[in-house]
Point group: C2
Chain length 176, copies 2
Amino acid sequence: MRKLVYLWNMDLQEGKDKFIQAWGTLGSHWGINRTMAQVHALLLISANPLCAETIMSELQISRGNANMNIRALIDWGLVFKELKPGERKEFFVAEKDMWEVIRQVIVQRKKKELEPIIKVLNEVGQIESETGPDVEEFEKVIRDISLFATKADSTLDSLIKADQHWFVGTFMKMIK
Amino acid sequence: MRKLVYLWNMDLQEGKDKFIQAWGTLGSHWGINRTMAQVHALLLISANPLCAETIMSELQISRGNANMNIRALIDWGLVFKELKPGERKEFFVAEKDMWEVIRQVIVQRKKKELEPIIKVLNEVGQIESETGPDVEEFEKVIRDISLFATKADSTLDSLIKADQHWFVGTFMKMIK
DNA sequence: CTCAACTTTCAAATACTTTTGAAAGTTGGC
DNA sequence: GCCAACTTTCAAAAGTATTTGAAAGTTGAG
């Protein structure tokens, strides 16, 4: 009997660890650093808010690292601070609605990636010059990409505003 | 007069450099390393195919670096080899259709990111165990994410198959 | 005001990624 | 077969990003 309980614990823990690892890897492809994504994963699969101390020991990371990444997650709107009455320390919960998670990631990446490239495209599109095959090719490529970037920008704005029902209903049906 | 010509050259060169830098930064957020994206940018804005030597000197990079990144771009389907009759060395041209570029990036990232997480989700969703709040929360989160991941998977498959007209026409109108 | 409990900061250390360049490999033409 | 022109490889070096931990900062309770 003792052995059975032990094996069951291992299975859940193993599953959690596997998920935390995988979420960390996925995050690192999405502008979220590995540890930041692992903290998010840990909070996602936790039934209760966790404090910094617990996060540090579960993920085997330092205090500074935990603090920095928790703050970054709060900035991204993926984690919220929760204060328990009578307790001095802070507890944290993850945004668990996947649609909301995606939206926040889109907002952040749009700001950090799309907006800067649109700015550069506008700047370099303004070259006053003689004609020539090089200039023409350059300007054509810049025009094409600008068009694309502008479309992507408004598409993302719409996605950010859209709610999940709209997305899952209308969009999913449409692409089938 | 000499001065005017010189200034005009500087402007085009400046524009090209700015664009190459920006495309490099953008690429590094998209699983394409900085140099790889810069090589792609250089080829994008070039009116003619370029050889390794030219790429090396324009971007000030080593032979090995140039070679590795050109090969990677070819693997991703973003650059094509072109042989000029009578010339021994290889020349390269970029995929210039932005829609095709995006499609290739989606294909690669789906393979490297979405498919592995779906595999892990299926594995960890199989835990046989007693009930308890921890297990329930874990399984609920995994189920939610699985659902989402499966939807994303089929959405991306459709996008990959879709052509630009469909996308720009139907999709863009829809989200307005 | 003071203390203890907690959070934040940041310079140095570590880990990870990319780049270099020289040597090895390949290939077409003679 | 042999050479010269070109491409590929890969171990070491350089460059980036992340992590640590100890010290400084903050804050509520007494």
